[in-house]
Symmetry: C2
Subunit: 205 residues, 2 copies
DNA sequence: CATATATGAACGAGCGTTCGTTCATAAAGA
DNA sequence: TCTTTATGAACGAACGCTCGTTCATATATG
């Protein structure tokens, strides 16, 4: 009986979590339609039919993943929020750069799931999430401590913050997810510095 | 006899072009695995078996599309190259912004195909293309006319140019392909101006 | 014992590719 | 010049397989 119990519960994690984890690994590598429920079941160590005890359809698995990761992405402990609440913007531009790197590392699966949604579901499941982002940035600025650097009066602070973080995000996404090593012709640390330099004082001599 | 001939050759465009065009429309909306050869055949107005007179496999259709679009993307007549050769960098930052918008409009299918490749083929078919890009930017800077604005001596000109154009690209990709209208809380024209302002003189007061 | 979780065979549909056939046109041969 | 042969584009049926989902049954748990 103990033997059967061990066989039944692989590694202690509940089946639902194992299904989600397996699905995430596969959706991010083959897309939604390129991933079969058999692949997911096999990877999760559950039977094919058991999947339907937890999720009504394959698409429901996908949507659950997006929701789960969105929640984690907006969690206050995530790297970007930490960088914003520990140092004032725009003093912390380099810090934001490294936080963006950490975020892309940590959420690379979520980012790829977003691309899957953009293509295979015409961005149906994710466009609301992006709309929430600007509010998130504005709120983080409010909660940010006062600092030495001042933002020029003709610049929208939330806009500037979005500009900086998106720039870093996109750099690290290219390097990591698009697999383009050194696409700026320099190492990460140098690129972080270049971007910060440009954002602080501009390109003009 | 004439009747039969007409029946055999639909609409004048060669079958190959119709297959590519149909495939592009479908791959960008459902992904590679989500698109069947039957879908492509139906949309192109050819028989299912006829596809294999032109392409050995479904993947070969996909790769042909990427190659075709890549060639068009790097064509000297495309909006971004035009903006760079008509006005000096960094005088033309706003111009680059509008060129980026035009480019995203014109190549939205290509951008989506790239996402398909990143996810479903682990960026296998596109990462070389990105490596080429830096060279493209450096060459465009060389060919660019001399202007009034001068780049600060501690800033890599090609790096700055990439930073500007990627920033604008990503803005317009979000707006158009991710379907997030007004994600900076302002109209396109205002966003183009804000970005140019920040890139020229920086955020600091 | 009742309930919750899990299984695996089967259903009906769809998939990428192959293959034999047809047909219009071009080329070769008499 | 006319007839025969060859060619390549096009077709649609079929092959062998995979797919998402259902459902009757088995097993585990409290």
């Amino acid at each position: 009986m103990a033997k059967t119990a061990v066989k039944r519960k692989k590694s202690g994690a509940p089946s639902l979590d194992r299904i989600l984890s397996a699905a995430s690994a596969l959706f991010t590598r083959k897309g939604f339609n390129g991933t079969s429920t058999r692949d997911i079941a096999g990877r999760a160590g559950v039977s094919l039919g058991n999947i339907y005890n937890y999720f009504g359809t394959k698409e429901e698995i996908f949507v659950s993943l997006l929701e789960k990761r969105e929640k984690e992405y907006f969690d206050p402990g995530q790297p970007l929020i930490r960088a914003l609440t520990s140092t004032a913007f725009p003093d912390n531009i380099e810090g934001l750069g490294f936080a963006a790197r950490e975020t892309v590392e940590k959420f690379s699966d979520y980012i790829l799931l977003i691309y899957v949604d953009v293509v295979e579901f015409e961005a149906r499941h994710v466009n609301k999430m992006f709309a929430r982002m600007r509010q998130g940035y504005a709120a983080a600025l409010k909660a940010s401590p006062a600092g030495r650097g001042r933002i020029a009066s003709d610049i929208d602070p939330a806009g500037a913050l979005m500009m900086v973080t998106w720039n870093y995000f996109n750099y690290f996404i290219m390097e990591k997810l698009f697999k383009v090593k050194g696409h700026y012709g320099m190492a990460d640390e140098q690129a972080v510095k270049l971007f910060a330099r440009v954002f602080k004082r501009g390109i003009l001599a």
